[in-house]
């Protein structure tokens, strides 16, 4: 039996009568970047929140390295790291204090120093790491948050719209970081409504529409199958 970093089987999530995720299934292998694409409201963020143990699934199963995300949430939390879409940070802390705070929560005492140093390097904010976060631009905050997410060396990083609202330079920098981390063995599940970004970054893609995954495969597989130039065309042809 294959050892998946993430195994999602028939995941469903309802908010009252509204079903945001309607039976989603996919797998992510260690060291793989899996991109969930779909328009706003497709259910990407809800699915990611369920995998990040923030929301409880209404039905279905989520396993992270064989651990059940519902029954053994604490074990799963020690293996994952989640970056919410358009998340902020504690504005009255400095960048370095924020990394220190998060390291104290996520890693053992003897690993904190090395973890913060790693975060500082990934954030690449120079001397501004010592400034208060309320002085940061959106791009700087996002880089800090990405650094926070991956500095703890999670087995699975869950990134919701990691480059949303960022300029080209900052977006490129974040994409480069994600690629390097995956090369070092970290599994990455990321979502985006920017299909070109997913095409560039992901090893495998799942197209989510109205709460359901309607296609899965590598970007090339999907383009060939639907005779499309890019994933945007694939999506348009599937949902026509």
């Amino acid at each position: 039996m294959k050892n998946y970093a993430l195994k999602v089987v028939n995941l469903r999530k309802k908010y009252g009568r509204f079903e945001a995720v309607r039976g989603v299934s996919f797998n992510v292998e260690p060291g793989e970047i899996f991109g969930l694409i779909g328009p706003n409201g497709a259910g990407k963020s809800t699915a990611l929140k369920c995998i990040a143990t923030i929301l409880s699934p209404s039905d279905g199963k989520i396993e992270v390295f064989g651990k059940d995300a519902t029954k053994d949430a604490n074990s799963v939390r020690s293996m994952i790291s989640y970056l919410p879409e358009e998340a902020g940070a504690y504005k009255n802390l400095t960048g370095i204090h924020y990394l220190q705070f998060m390291a104290e929560l996520f890693v053992a005492k003897n690993e904190i120093k090395a973890c913060v140093e790693r975060g500082e390097k990934i954030a690449d904010l120079g001397s501004k790491i010592k400034n208060k976060i309320n002085t940061y631009s959106k791009g700087m905050t996002r880089k800090l948050l990405l650094a926070r997410t991956v500095m703890i060396k999670p087995k699975l990083a869950i990134l919701d719209e990691p480059t949303s609202g960022l300029d080209v330079i900052n977006a490129l920098s974040i994409r480069k970081t994600v690629r390097e981390l995956a090369k070092n063995g970290m599994a990455v599940l990321l979502s985006s409504h920017n299909m070109l970004e997913i095409e560039y970054l992901s090893d495998k893609v799942g197209i989510l529409h109205n709460g359901r995954i309607i296609e899965t495969g590598t970007a090339n597989e999907l383009k060939n199958k639907h005779r499309a130039k890019n994933l945007e065309e694939v999506f348009a042809k599937i949902t026509e």
């Binding site: 908010y15 923030i54 998340a87 940070a89 009255n92 104290e104 929560l105 996520f106």
Partner: protein, 425 residues
């Protein structure tokens, strides 16, 4: 424990910002400055008052008026000339007023005819110190009347004027619980008020501030999605709840202490120093007789009751804050808590709780915050059962709300509550 301290440190850092500390310090300084200013003005008003006197009679009786004023601690200053000119001069000299003794004053007095003295009060302000100046004239005339009537009685009947003016003396007995004292009830009430006024104000301030801070902390974590990061961390979520509550509690205590320091200065200024001197032997005797001085165990009970009230407020605020979509909505969601604090606060402040209809009493007692407000009076009255009962009740309420708050955070309700009342993604 380490993770709890990490979370607590973060909460305090987030709450104790310059944006919060600077207005707090400025408010305290303003309170102290106003208190000092008002105190100085009040002291000036309490000093011997200068009163201008125009004596158009120039007799022994009119001279006596001036002597009587002096005996009553006034500083009469003689003026002469046309009254209108004297009034103009008084205005220029910022005098509070002047007295005109009319021609024929002594003659009418001796013939027991109606006699009047013209009092001119120059009102220049309608403030509290302004009204104190206005009262000066009335007090001066009262002093003159007392002196003249005492002199007349002594001269005509050769007896102590008090025997005629107050033939029936009053001997006050104050009873509190099973203790009795020969003192007047007004003095005792003033003492109790001076000792207990600050307790409900402190409690009110701490509860409102702590609840607001905690609700804002929860709402802003939800709004900024920092809560999502915390909830996905390998941390017991009950620690997140506790750290938020303890952090808000510590900062609220600090703020309340600063406010109270400034407020005490302000109040002292308004009352012209300590309202009641505890050094007066009569008051000391009454306090001892009636057991009105709280002992260390009584203070401990009072503190326990206040602490339990604050815990209840924090637990309720934690839940209410979870309903807020954003910081802007916090005020709306914590309004029910404000009402629950204000109702017993004003009831205890203005009404005799025990004289309320039983149904209203039970409703008020069901509000956990009513108990710390009533704790001090109950301790003075020796109602220990009420105090202990209130503390136990508050801890039960606290446990219930903490359980609900922990339940909110350990399930995904903390996220979905917002989704239910906010816009859906």
């Amino acid at each position: 424990m380490n993770k709890f301290l990490t979370l607590l440190k973060k909460e305090i850092r987030e709450l104790l910002t310059p944006a919060m500390v600077i207005p707090l310090v400025i408010t305290m300084v303003i309170f102290m400055a106003i208190g000092n200013l008002v105190g100085n003005e009040t002291e000036k008003n309490l000093e011997s008052q200068t009163i201008w006197v125009v004596d158009n009679d120039q007799t022994t009786a009119s001279t006596s008026v001036i002597e009587f004023l002096r005996a009553a601690n006034y500083l009469p200053e003689m003026k002469s000339g046309d009254i209108n000119n004297v009034i103009d001069d008084a205005k220029q000299a910022k005098q509070a007023g002047l007295i005109l003794i009319p021609d024929g004053f002594e003659k009418n007095l001796n013939e027991m005819n109606p006699v009047s003295i013209d009092c001119y009060t120059i009102l220049k302000s309608f403030s509290m110190t302004g009204s104190m100046k206005a009262a000066t004239m009335q007090a001066a005339i009262d002093a003159i009347n007392t002196a003249f009537s005492d002199a007349t009685i002594t001269n005509k009947y050769q007896i102590d004027p008090a025997k005629i003016k107050t033939p029936v003396a009053r001997q006050d007995h104050v009873i509190i619980g099973d203790k009795e004292s020969l003192s007047d009830p007004q003095t005792v009430m003033s003492f109790i008020t001076s000792q207990t006024t600050f307790i409900p104000i402190i409690l009110f301030l701490v509860i409102i501030m702590a609840a607001q801070m905690l609700a804002v902390a929860v709402a802003s974590e939800k709004e900024n999605k920092t809560l999502e990061i915390l909830l996905s961390a390998p941390v017991d979520r009950r620690l997140i709840v506790m750290a938020k509550m303890v952090g808000a509690g510590i900062v609220a205590f600090l703020m309340a202490a600063v406010y109270m320091f400034g407020f005490r200065y302000y109040m002292n200024g308004l009352s012209g120093g300590e309202a009641l001197s505890n050094s007066s032997p009569a008051i000391q005797q009454a306090i001892t007789d009636l057991g009105l001085k709280l002992t260390v165990p009584q203070y401990a009970l009072l503190g326990l009751s206040l602490f339990a009230g604050i815990l209840c407020a924090l637990a309720i605020a934690m839940i209410l804050g979870s309903f807020a979509d954003s910081e802007k909505n916090v005020q709306a969601v914590i309004t029910p808590l404000m009402v629950l604090v204000m109702v017993p606060y004003f009831l205890v402040l203005f009404l005799d709780f025990n004289s309320l209809a039983p149904i209203i009493r039970y409703i008020v007692m069901a509000i956990p915050f009513a108990h710390p407000f009533m704790a001090a009076p109950n301790l003075f009255l020796g109602n220990y059962a009420m105090v202990w009962g209130g503390i136990v009740y508050q801890f039960i309420v606290f446990m219930i709300f903490v359980f609900i708050a922990a339940k909110l955070f350990t399930t995904d309700k903390i996220m979905t509550i917002r989704l239910k009342i906010g816009k859906k993604k």
